[in-house]
Assembly symmetry: C2
Homo-oligomer: 601 residues x 2
Amino acid sequence: MNELSQQLRVDSVRAAAAAGSGHPTSSMSAADLMAVLFSNYLRYDFDAPENKANDHLVFSKGHASPLLYSLYKAAGAIDDAELLSFREFGSRMQGHPTPELPWVDVATGSLGQGLPISVGIALAASRLENSGLRVWVLCGDSELAEGSMWEAFEHAGYAKLKNLIAVVDVNRLGQRGPTMHEWDTSSLAARAAACGWDVQEIDGHDLEAIDAAYAAALESDKPAAIFARTKKGSGVAAVEDKDGFHGKPLDDPEAAIEELGGIREVSVEVAKPGEAKPFEVERAAVERPSYESGESVATRGAYGDALAWLGSIDEQVVALDGEVGNSTYAERFAAKHPDRFFEMYIAEQQMIASAVGLQTRGWKPFASSFGAFLSRAYDFVRMGAISAADLKLCGSHVGVSIGPDGPSQMALEDIASLRAVFGSVVLYPSDPNQTVALLDAMREHHGISYLRTTREKTPVIYGPEQSFEIGGSEVVRSSGDDAITLIAAGITLHESLKAADALAEKGITARVIDLYSVKPVDAETVLAAANETGALITVEDHWAEGGIGETVAGVLAEAGASTRLTRLAVTERPGSGPPADLLAAAGIDAAHIIAAAERAL
Amino acid sequence: MNELSQQLRVDSVRAAAAAGSGHPTSSMSAADLMAVLFSNYLRYDFDAPENKANDHLVFSKGHASPLLYSLYKAAGAIDDAELLSFREFGSRMQGHPTPELPWVDVATGSLGQGLPISVGIALAASRLENSGLRVWVLCGDSELAEGSMWEAFEHAGYAKLKNLIAVVDVNRLGQRGPTMHEWDTSSLAARAAACGWDVQEIDGHDLEAIDAAYAAALESDKPAAIFARTKKGSGVAAVEDKDGFHGKPLDDPEAAIEELGGIREVSVEVAKPGEAKPFEVERAAVERPSYESGESVATRGAYGDALAWLGSIDEQVVALDGEVGNSTYAERFAAKHPDRFFEMYIAEQQMIASAVGLQTRGWKPFASSFGAFLSRAYDFVRMGAISAADLKLCGSHVGVSIGPDGPSQMALEDIASLRAVFGSVVLYPSDPNQTVALLDAMREHHGISYLRTTREKTPVIYGPEQSFEIGGSEVVRSSGDDAITLIAAGITLHESLKAADALAEKGITARVIDLYSVKPVDAETVLAAANETGALITVEDHWAEGGIGETVAGVLAEAGASTRLTRLAVTERPGSGPPADLLAAAGIDAAHIIAAAERAL
């Protein structure tokens, strides 16, 4: 085993030397920990990464990618040439691990995410699948400063995830100097223990101690954390336990390789798991929800109804909420499908991370909170896109139209921030039947999608059989010879319809477009309106930046359309008050739309 | 004191009843805790909120605003009529507290922020100002699920902030049911103790116990946390300790008021603090940095140089970094001004929260990390805007041009997300001298501003005396009769200059605009280019959504300009590799700009 450890160090040094960058010293500190894991504990079939019975191994300290890739080589999954393509353009051996590699579940490299995501994997395996697999996570000590790690410790302890083992490589040195706690693992261990974890503190270079710790961890009926005191750069005197060698190749890799005993050709036989066991998912019949013309229903309510329905027609659908399920109406799913509902409490990072973890096992997670509070987990969504994760998000209580609760609860930047996530879909329904259709489209779509729902009740304007698709839009009103076009979605669509009525009385015919798919956008319909009407007005309950207005502006400018665009959006800091007052104060209600239309013509 | 407690409950009930919404039960649980604080411990001059010797009181559980406003009334700061204007349009009594009230330091209402921000206030008072003031924070138990709270516990313990007292109102019930730990305060207390806090667990309705706990907390040489077991809705049998009464007025407020002993006119004499003591700030002379033509300097390096300089010319400047100061180059400030540098370790939420706290005391905080990792603290920046906070942010390592580290480290959404922050300024320099000038402009600007810096070295293109301003742009190249305009900033400006050279050789004269102020944008210069040249091309090392291209599109569409815009931006998930390869793969290098120009003409 010592030979394997040394090979992992040598190969980490070689990979970083070949790349001219990377993190060999952060790899060397954890080499012994991972050598013992691969030799004696991990159950993984590298020839069949799709085997559902495989253990999971997540490198939460993603910068130790040279170690991970060296492990893959030792396990026979990659060859030496591929290892040495580390960080080359086009190589799968990226600077930080991504699921482009079939043995990597999720991208890491933004510290503090691997453990929370692993909680989600462990929840899937234990709560949903009754699987005996284990989730192993290699954590760094620096990343324990991230609060998200403590959300994970708390939730795993609460959920008694005995299939989760966190191995913390406490190498005392961060990027630019000592960590807050250095080798004082006692306070970290005490905190983890208080969260309900089984904790051990060991010498992370003592192979026997490591082995004993893993054995003990597997006996625990709690999640297990092993705080292993290690030396960064261990094995090479020039860098061992020395500051100033983070994230760079060794100055003299040849000498280091010699000091480590030279290049080896050790291979490790990783134990294979058994067959994945079948498991059952409870079901509860729910009718497809539908709403009648004449009703007024908040789209957030329709979200809850639709989610409960989707849970019945698709056994892979699971739902998570951040302790606001009676506001987002995720509680309607929970009532029908309690086994597939995850209450994540007020820990939005852990909520999104759990969703990312769940989808690695094929579940289709829908995660909801107030749109404003999803901003708490923005980095997790960003990284989810790098993981090519299948995430369905819902943000409720958007815009000034929530009224009395005030600006802290208003999502006014969610369209902008979530449009700027790679490959994302951003949907913003105006009607409950439409919400049902769009949520079903999200279920079928693989990728990151976001549904923006409204707190206030709005009238039903579409029939239950009407279809809506990702990338679509709906011309809600058109005379065939329209003077102007109003483009909106959500609550401002209803203001636009009121404005169109009033304009019609003044002899101005307005086309009204429901731009419910903000991304991807239906450019064709927008451009047709630009060509066929004299002016365009966008109206949105969102800041002016990055929302519907700019989306439409982009379409027009790329086409060289000369139709003038007026963008109505929120441009002043709102306060509390009745929704109608706030819509008026923001200049996005019917009266302001009418005035803007008259100015534009 | 009991009379005061009951009045606080009555007034909370009355305020919510008047508003028809709000959180009376969450207020009632903490009434005793706050009554004792105001009667015996708080030192605050409500007539002089600007007195620097005042204690601070932060309601981290901002939804208990009825209690806070009832306290203000009892202290004589507001009258009953204003209290009853709770949540009315235009009233200062917003649904959640904001600094529109002179006694409120920061907006709360996004849970998990008040304690981290208070850590920043406590750091300012203790580390910078040698003040004897105390920072009192009322926390909820639900919000202890937020990792950001544990970043705060950890940092406060590490920094030994004995001037910080967290009062946790453990009322057992969250928005939709029991919290994770209900009244089991032991695990929470154990975790806080492990973080280096003095901890107490008390009955939060026992006035003597509360008083004794505060007295003990003030004797501690550590930050003190009081975990007080309370009953939500305490004092009114219909709601006391009952689920289902979160965030709504009482069904029968009149009966509740009677049960509580009726309306009172108790006033509390809050002790006033002494005079604020003068304090000294260390200085270290630094020359204004300047760079010569012919040099190549990364703008992140210029950030470090400029920040160190600003620290010398402005004693209010402080700096924070998230354990990457040797990458952002904030370490250059730390070397010159160690007393005003705050190492926040890898805890970006606590970093931004600390900055928000520091600026409440008049300090000018500059906070830096990789741009990608600022996304971790997006909700804190969002709330900072509601607080009208003065925050200067710097994100380094932006875009695919960072190269080998791969996508997890690349900020590609930072322009979009930070433009969508109310009142923000987004700057993106291309040159080190320009970086110095823009950072100085950020110092003078009050509000949230963001500087985007580049990892790679780029040539000096401006002189050290050239001026740049927020809202400006620079025409770097123009023949007076240009066929096309290239608009860029940062690394793609240099690619645009290379492209312009190559186009010139082909007889195509290109105007090149450095759009270094992305928000606010210099619309005049953009529109002049649209009018005077045949086509526009934007180029940015950022996703296509919400960045430079959409900003320009917005300008063009609002003006009804028919000049066609081509937007070059990152549209595929990048990997690792040399910067030049990644710029080429993203289609944003000189070769792609040349091709786009030729296609456009």
